[in-house]
């Protein structure tokens, strides 16, 4: 990849780590003026980190970053903006209380005499922008209540009024309807024809192939290849996105599959997921695969009773569980390790022992009091078994590494001796070594007869660990693949399937 005179953005071997976690190993990208460039890759391939480096949200650790042929180094979003970079996020962030026009011009309002804000000029320009984009939006109305599509249009209007030469759209179509997607594409093409450079991130291959001129594939935080759209095909891109041997990394030992533990039937929450039915058996690891935002975590939260649902039923060991009652789910033998363990699963200020003991406190209490000694006695065996590396059980959980935190959360739930473990993104943000330990642990637990429902965005992890893979796409289960049929291509195909008949 060498830059030419018309190369607007060029990244060479850019890397970025967060503590021990390498988010971006070696990102490279060259975007030409007057073209739309697709950036594709699995979840966690490093696309978003790459975008955030360009946007000035993160500063790269190493590598070359050229904009318009000049070396740049952005420390803040205002610097990247001033250099002509505009980023449109999947869910735009606007000021709901302020008018649409103020949202477009915030921080660089047009000024009249005496450096006072010239509202009339701003309204006029906003109207002109919307007319050009072909949308009927009142520039004076507040941003509150606008759909995501409208909000993206405001972001685009902002980018145009900034005269941005580079527009990055991070999964802009994820929440849009068919008509809205068409409108967005029309706008994107007209911006390209004006000579601007666009980067388009999407998981939907039909959109990538319909819109983009060039495609760059990323995998595991690194650049894989760049193709002209007409020279490649969707299966070829999928192969490059996945392209690696997955078997050895994930030591799933076969376990005796027993009777059903969890039976979910016809679960539905309007606008979130529909008609979700599946079963998890004793000794079985079921992987819930799909793209970010497909509704996997929402399904898990509904099954556990954190969120409600409109229709359907959840049964544990044959007994129906009341909806919206996590306490009942725990009593029936469910355990839930959430995705964001800092926010949902771990009291980071408290000691390891207290965290581990927190769900079984009722059983520990002696005359209504819980002593630190009792907590430590209960936590000890679990922490030992999981090899949590803390010097003492009363060490604060916050000071531990991500991997050890995850083990504490798992230990916390194992102390309840569950029949079913629901685990959301078990290895997100964990270094490779600890990942293998978490995998070995899950495999062991299944071997002891526990049923495990594992949500993971990392395809190799799902394929390596799961006895059965359920693929979720746009709130529906689009595939139920036994281990031997679960190839990367099959899962990706089901996960990106455009459901033509959506309501």
């Amino acid at each position: 990849m060498t830059g030419t005179a018309t190369t607007v953005l060029e990244l060479r071997d850019v890397s970025k780590s967060f503590g021990p976690v390498i988010a971006l190993r070696s990102g490279s990208l060259a975007v030409e003026a007057g073209s739309i460039h697709a950036l594709v890759g699995e979840n966690g391939a490093g696309k978003s980190t790459l975008v955030k480096v360009v946007a000035g949200v993160h500063r790269r650790d190493s590598g070359d970053f050229l904009l318009g042929g000049e070396r740049v180094d952005f420390g803040s979003t205002s610097e990247s903006k001033a250099a002509g970079v505009a980023v449109i996020y999947q869910e735009p962030t606007l000021f709901p209380d302020l008018s649409v026009t103020e949202n477009i011009f915030m921080g660089r309002q047009l000024l009249g005499s005496g450096r006072r804000i010239d509202r009339a000029a701003m309204y006029a320009e906003a109207e002109a922008l919307f007319e050009r984009l072909g949308v009927d939006l009142d520039p004076r109305r507040p941003a509150r209540g606008l759909s995501i599509a409208d909000q993206q249009i405001i972001e685009i209007a902002k980018a145009i009024s900034l005269d941005a030469r580079l527009l990055i759209m991070d999964e802009p179509t994820a929440a849009l309807s068919g008509v809205e997607v068409e409108r967005l594409f029309a706008v994107a093409r007209s911006l390209r024809d004006e000579g601007r450079a666009l980067v388009f991130i999407s998981h939907r291959f039909d959109e990538v192939f319909a819109l983009c001129d060039t495609i760059t594939v990323m995998r595991d935080g690194a650049y894989v290849a760049t193709h002209l759209t007409e020279d490649t095909s969707s299966p070829a891109i999928v192969a490059e996105m996945v392209g690696r041997e997955v078997a050895d990394l994930f030591p799933k030992t076969p376990a005796q599959i027993g009777e059903p533990v969890l039976e979910v039937d016809g679960l539905q929450a309007r606008g979130v997921f529909h008609d979700v039915s599946f079963t998890v058996h004793r000794g079985e690891i079921v992987g819930l695969a799909g793209l970010v935002g497909a509704g996997r975590s929402e399904i898990a939260r509904a099954v556990f009773g954190v969120d409600g649902y409109d229709a359907g039923s959840v049964r544990m060991n044959g007994r129906e569980i009341a909806r919206r009652k996590p306490r009942a789910a725990i009593e029936a033998g469910m355990a839930f390790v959430p995705e964001d363990r800092r926010a949902q699963g771990l009291v980071t200020e408290a000691s390891v022992a207290r965290n581990v003991a927190s769900v079984i406190r009722g059983g520990l209490a002696r005359a209504g009091l819980i002593t630190t000694g009792a907590e430590n006695r209960a936590a000890g065996p679990w922490a030992g078994r999981l090899e949590v590396k803390t010097n003492a059980l009363d060490m604060s959980a916050r000071t531990m590494s991500g991997g050890n935190q995850q083990k504490v959360v798992i230990a916390k739930w194992l102390a309840t001796e569950p029949d079913l473990l629901i685990i959301d993104e078990p290895t997100r943000g964990i270094d490779v070594g600890t990942k293998a330990e978490v995998h070995r642990l899950l495999s062991e637990l299944a071997g002891q007869g526990m049923a495990i429902l594992m949500i993971s965005s990392e395809l190799p992890e799902v394929l390596g660990m799961a006895d059965r893979v359920l693929v979720v796409c746009e709130g529906r289960i689009t595939a139920d693949l036994p281990r031997e049929d679960a190839t990367p291509e099959a899962v990706m195909h089901a996960a990106t399937r455009q459901l033509e008949v959506t309501g």
Binding site: V57, S76, T77, S78, E79, K81, T93, L94, F95, P96, D97, L98, E102, M106, G107, R108, Q109, L111, R115, R116, I117, Y123, E127, F130, E131, D136, L137, D138, P139, R140, R141, P142, R144, G145, L146, S147, A149, D150, V179, E180
Partner: protein, 361 residues
């Protein structure tokens, strides 16, 4: 976008003017937009309540307004709270709160007395400047703590409320500043009037006008609203959030410093207990005046009228022969009513705004 002459619902019924103002303001002619905005404003409605309270109190006892004392009290008494409310409004608009203003005010009130006693010959203007500066510095401390330690302003300023008050207590002890310690020219300022309008009120209204104008017409002013509306979005927009939050606290502190001087000029005596609890009155005035407690919307005009209303009600109720308990209950009901009303209106507006877009989509 072409202005429509009338706006209709999907079912063909004509939408009310206030609804059009909300969801499609450009469809109205500029004149109609302005009149509807004013007629529908929170500021106007509490202003009408203020007039109603005043009229009722005056009908009961015409010296409430039509004696020289009554008229002066009507204007002067709210002026100090008005200044605090203006500063508080700016802070609350940025989704923060400043509970330390009462203590800052006490500090500068005592400082005023000490300056006159210890530095005789110091011009009055210098005393004003020093107190405003002192208030600004104390506000800066609040702002730095809030902006750099990522701790909610409620907690920070609750702490500085006690710290600043503690400074006054240990500095003043049981000492009092009396009218005799103060130059007569300075005391006259507290009672002087120009065309029957007290000077204190003129100062308060001048400050209100400047701050109100700045918030509406300056980039910095609009950024206060943006930060309060969504602090994370403000960061992504590249706004200097810390600087703005700092500025809001400095303004609030400086105004509290000014109020300290004016308090001394008005009442002549200062003890260490000056201004205890006034910070809550200031917050109440701001909330009643229609500034959203979670920031992002409202005006200092509303906060100013809220301050006037609060003080006037407190003065009117005893003269109407209402018991002490009910006097407080009325103020409490006013605050609760204002907050509940805000929520209900905000929810209704959000629904309407969303529905309006779905119809066109």
């Amino acid at each position: 976008m072409t202005p429509h002459t009338d706006v209709r619902h999907a079912d063909g019924t004509e939408a009310s003017t206030s609804e059009v103002l909300l969801v499609e303001p450009s469809a109205l002619s500029p004149a109609r937009r302005i009149t509807t905005t004013v007629l529908r404003s929170r500021e106007l409605s509490i202003f009408l309540v203020l007039i109603a309270v005043t009229v009722v109190a005056t009908l009961k006892n015409d010296s409430f307004l039509f004696s020289s004392d009554g008229w002066r009290n009507f204007l002067v008494n709210p002026s100090l709270l008005l200044l605090l409310a203006v500063g508080q409004a700016v802070v609350i608009i940025t989704r923060n709160v400043d509970l330390s203003v009462g203590s800052i005010m006490a500090l500068t009130a005592y400082l005023t007395g000490r300056l006159f006693i210890d530095q005789p010959g110091l011009p009055v203007v210098a005393v004003f400047a020093l107190c405003i500066l002192a208030g600004g510095v104390l506000g800066l401390v609040n702002g730095l703590l809030v902006a750099y330690f990522n701790v909610p302003a409620l907690v920070i300023t609750l702490g500085t409320l006690y710290i600043y008050r503690g400074i006054v207590l240990s500095w003043a002890g049981s000492d009092r500043i009396n009218a005799g310690d103060l130059p007569s020219g300075f005391l006259a300022l507290g009672n002087k009037a120009i065309l029957t309008i007290p000077v204190l009120t003129i100062i308060a209204l001048a400050v209100l006008a400047v701050v109100g104008y700045y918030l509406y017409t300056a980039r910095g002013g609009r950024e206060f609203y943006a930060i309060g509306s969504d602090p994370d979005a403000a960061v992504l927009y590249g706004l200097d959030v810390r600087r703005r939050v700092l500025a809001a606290f400095v303004l609030s502190g400086a105004l509290a410093g000014l109020v300290g001087v004016l308090y001394t000029a008005r009442y002549g005596t200062v003890s260490s207990g000056v201004g205890s609890g006034i910070e809550l009155q200031a917050v109440a005035a701001v909330v009643i005046g229609g500034v959203a407690i979670f920031g992002g919307s409202g005006t200092v005009w509303g906060a100013a009228i809220g301050a006037f209303l609060l003080v006037t009600i407190n003065r009117a109720l005893p003269s109407l022969g209402i018991e002490d308990f009910w006097q407080r209950a009325v103020v409490g009901a006013l605050i609760l009513g204002a907050i509940v009303l805000d929520r209900v209106l905000a929810n209704r507006q959000a629904t309407k705004l969303a529905e309006a877009r779905e119809m066109t989509a």
